[in-house]
């Protein structure tokens, strides 16, 4: 057991825990942030994606010790931002949500992409979200949603 201090959704938090525990489990079970989903548990599907110091990571592959003194944002924290509102609107307009299980991770991937590249091409978007699996949509509507957000959110990213 060790005390791990980190920033979670813009607040400093402390948790006493086995330091090898997966960040995913700590977020879900300790902090009840269940918007972070477990789809595969091996870093392949992206359903558990969160922002770690602004970069996308799969929280199932991160031991909690690794976030000590770092900054973690989950969908719950991200959903309080202006960027989220713009992306949410774009996802709804394009029909990018079906079962919704991949959606929080997909939103995080979209944000991470737009931060690095505010005006992505279709190819950029395909590459940017390729770490996130979706079995419902065939991806086209998600790709269009990111394109739409990039235009409607001009200046935000």
């Amino acid at each position: 057991m060790e005390t791990i201090k980190f920033t979670l959704n813009h607040k400093v938090v402390e948790v006493e825990i086995n330091e090898t525990k997966r960040l995913l489990d700590v977020l879900r079970e300790h902090f009840l942030l269940t918007g972070v989903k477990e789809g595969c548990g091996e870093g392949e599907c992206g359903a558990c994606a969160v922002l770690l110091d602004g970069d996308i990571v799969n929280s199932c592959m991160v031991p909690i010790a690794n976030v000590k003194d770092h900054d973690v944002v989950t969908i719950e924290g991200y959903s309080k931002t202006k960027n989220f509102e713009v992306l949410k609107e774009a996802y709804a307009e394009e029909g990018a949500v079906q079962c919704g299980f991949c959606t929080p991770g997909m939103m995080i991937a979209s944000e991470a992409l737009l931060r690095k590249n505010p005006h992505p091409t279709e190819e950029d978007i395909k590459n940017g979200i390729s770490g996130n699996l979706c079995r419902c949509t065939g991806y086209n509507m998600i790709i269009k949603a990111v394109q739409r957000a990039s235009k409607s959110g001009e200046g935000l990213w």
Binding site: T34, G95, C99, G100, S130, L133, R135, G138, I143
Partner: protein, 697 residues
Amino acid sequence: MKDISKSVFKVDNDEKISGQAQYVSDIMGYDFLYAFTIRSEHPKAIIKDINLPNLPPGYYTVDYTDIPGKNVVKIIFDDMPVFAEKQVNYYKEPIMLLVGKDKEVLKNLASMVQIEYEILEPLYTYDNSVINYHFTKGDPVTAFKNAERVISFDYDTGYQEQLYIEPQGMLGYSEGEKVTLVGSIQCPYYVKNAVIAILDTTPEMVRVQQAAVGGAFGGKEEFPSLIACQLAVAINKIKRPIKLIYDREEDMEVTTKRHPSKITLEAAIVNNRIVGMRSKVGLDGGAHIGLSGVVLSRALIASTGAYTIDNLDVNGDVFITNTVPNGAFRGFGAPQMLFAIEMFIHHVATELGIDPLTMRLDALAKQNDKTSTNGTFRDPIIMNQMIEKAMEMSDYKRKVKEYQNDDSFRGIGMSWFLHGCGFTGSGESTHINALVKLKKDEQNQVHILIAAVDMGQGVKTTMKKIVANVLDIPLEQVTYNNPDTDFVPDSGPTVASRTIMIVGGLIARAALQLKQKWVEDYEVIVEERYQQPSYVKWDEETFQGDAYPAYSWGVNVVEVEVSKVTYQVNLLNSWSVYDVGKAIDERIIIGQADGGQMQGLGYGYLEVMRTKNGKVEHKNVTDYIIPTSVDAPSMETVIMDNPFPLGPYGAKGAGELTLVGGAPAVALAIENAINHKVQSIPMTPEKIMELINHGNN
């Protein structure tokens, strides 16, 4: 009146996008115990003895001796045990649950359970038929006797895994003698009825609620009944809330998949026309029959695809093997058959040296033609228009000739297909007999009370639209919560492309009734029950008559490029035209079309799952590859208007239709690119290499 097809924002967008939607694993707050399943380590063996470690206090085992009812999961064919008793019949068959507070302790205890087996010889080949169906149309014997030529080809198809992103899961608790189960499920009443039987109790003692469902595709049709039975027995014994959530590997190793198949088709040819056909189909059912017989009948009925063939002999078997049981998957037998028939008609034409398009257009089904089971295509068929449209969008005619003759390794393929809407045969009236309710409360809010599950296909939105449109009230004045069997009647399972056409049709009629009975500020409840149209006649024994009340139709065109170096297939473009009667929401239908198409294409060229010595070899997302965003082609979809008189606003089924044409379209495109006949899916780079080097697969 407003055009119902005009899209609205989906009603569950906000909760899903923000991560607030509650899937079963997200439900916290009860003091849950966890269950871990102890499974067989052999594909076929007799259980001689089980040695359990000493269990710490608060830890329990649950096995067949704890079952109050009969040890079988009530599905359609009741042969799957809830827990294996004396013998196991597939690798990882469930034997018992370990239940307790700490997941790590459970895993540790599980590793100490020792089971002694007497190993038996497993069977993996298509030799033990447990179901055989046979039917004919016209006079196939004479047609083959008088044929100028008989042409035959074999086809085979592999497994497909649903790979919903949310793995299977269920939780439950008891209040007194009453057991409540909450799960990721398609069919609340299948689960309820299975649990009533396993606990040998009465309907009011079992309550089933649907949590948000993270994808299903048929995978959550019958399988959740097994987990629900195990969990209900555990709760009945331990009297504590228990959670049973699979991780990905367990899910992929033990849950039902699409049946692998072997299909042989034979054509009797006179004057360059197919005058008769023999269809022989074998499905690998896995270790238990479950839904395999129903899957087989849908496959057999689809033997002639979108064509009319006058003389027909259809014969099919379900074979039992010592592998994981196969079951429901979007398309339900049709994807295997439609792959075979679409390839076959091309291969026959090629063999005869005639243009496949000419042969197909000549054989295409028309209104009033007899179906494969001597029923009638009563409603207008607009396939000619749809085919024209698809060929124009894709520039098919030019490309197919060009790619045939050049060495670009590009190819284009076009599939034509239909899908019967609703349960096969008289299933809707004899097995389901759906009941729906609408309740208007004193605040004039209208509640939709049905057992249909929104698993991403948008049914919460579309049902609300139907009710709001009929009653001419705003969408917000209609409520549709996740089904809870304590409140909703049995409107049937969320399967078989029946939800909008059958349940939505009943809801539209109920809304009309409510409109007439509406009294402001008073509670009003109305009901509607399914009645089979009197002209639909079906004989389940002989497979004669109208197998479905209506058919949806589709055309897919796919363009690919095959790498000359690695033989990897790259999807370039996909164009689709669908007749689903009438779209209840255009954007939702196009979403279904895109996703179904991607899943159907994946089935055709990419998704490989095999078993070796009875074990699933591809049991995680690293080994079993599904399409990613990088694999997605650009997609263009056109939805036609061809209203079906009995559907709500003319709507027919749509969910499965969008998958079933994907595999033949991509297989034909690969064939066009490499100039070799494709008879097997998935068409992997290894198989393409074999074809190019040796001419066979």
